[in-house]
Symmetry: C2
Subunit: 210 residues, 2 copies
């Protein structure tokens, strides 16, 4: 398959494919001569994955690169691969909220994690985001939402459990890792849009008049 065919197969413009090649998101094709390379099925699948992450999940190109690198390093233990992807996915440096809200949020969140017996690396970036978010919700006066953090955690625990089950059926380690990463990222988009639809429907019933 030449680049033009790859482009047709995935509906990605040739210059964009070249860009992804330059950036190292897509491995180079096999060169048969200095200016002739052939691409295979792996390239088609990889390219589709790249586009799904970028267009659907809005993951920045640099982050996609990190994630793919972590997927391709099959020497790493699975848990480490997942951790790398998580780290790449969670933007660093956030700040908002007052100091009181921050400390309150920190105790609430650490309490929640302890209660549920979750084993969480205190350095996990998602932990910082969670604390910041709870703190922000408090500062914005949404305490009644924050009060039900546990209900959120219940629901989340439920589908995370089954996601892991669903994904564990994958035969090989590589496929497993890929499934986890795709599930993590596109799963988020899936949940977000389901949530929007549910909200729209429930709110329509509830507030017809206001």
């Amino acid at each position: 398959m030449r680049i033009g065919e790859l482009s047709k197969a995935t509906d990605v413009p040739v210059p964009t494919i070249k860009y992804y090649l330059r950036e190292g998101l897509l491995p180079a094709g096999e060169l048969s001569s200095p200016n002739q390379a052939s691409y295979g099925d792996t390239h088609v699948r990889r390219l589709r994955l790249i586009r799904a992450l970028i267009e659907l999940a809005q993951v920045p190109v640099a982050t996609v690169k990190e994630i793919l690198e972590s997927l391709d390093s099959d020497t790493e233990p699975l848990h480490e691969q997942i951790g790398r992807a998580h780290r790449a996915l969670t933007p660093t440096r956030r700040l908002s909220a007052t100091d009181e809200a921050r400390t309150a949020a920190t105790t609430q969140v650490t309490g929640l994690i302890a209660d549920r017996g979750w084993s969480v690396d205190p350095e996990a970036p998602a932990l910082a985001t969670l604390i910041d978010t709870v703190a922000a919700l408090r500062t914005l006066g949404q305490d009644n939402l924050v009060a039900h953090l546990d209900t959120y955690a219940d629901a989340v625990e439920r589908f995370t459990q089954f996601e892991i089950d669903a994904v564990t059926t994958n035969p090989t380690r590589d496929q497993l890792a890929e499934s986890v990463v795709i599930g993590t990222i596109l799963g988020e988009t899936l949940i977000a849009s389901l949530r929007l639809l549910a909200q729209e429907s429930i709110s329509a019933d509830r507030w017809k008049n206001r």
Copy 2:
């Protein structure tokens, strides 16, 4: 309160505040003379909301503007306000996945919505995103995840229900609308980080060895 104090109170640099004023995210302060304005508590709260949306939820500035405009138009019915915010929040133009996957995804999603009796505007942007996401997951070979769309919907329905309940306690219509919007957007960040933590914890237990 002058701009410097507003800056100190919210930890947002003065030039950034000026930028938000220019962009119309933040209403102008009350002018006491041609180059002296005073800002009040509304500005502090509004600014904190802006930063939470931008930093935590990664909402683009232009979208924040749309959302705030919709919040400020208290003539609109509540459901319309929410719809506007949803529309602003969901990026248009996505494409990926093969045609077979698209049609399969469309039937599955419309089936799900019918089964649950959700009343969803067929033009709702979240609907398109959901279909695209399901289609992408199929194209990427993650059928076992997609097979459990219903389980996701169950969990999502559960916390959406209670979110709406929690938010309904708000006394005034304006506060209700603000709560819905904040809950929708920061709730997503909340759920996403909870999910990451749950995943990390469960996957650590499950795949210690792989």
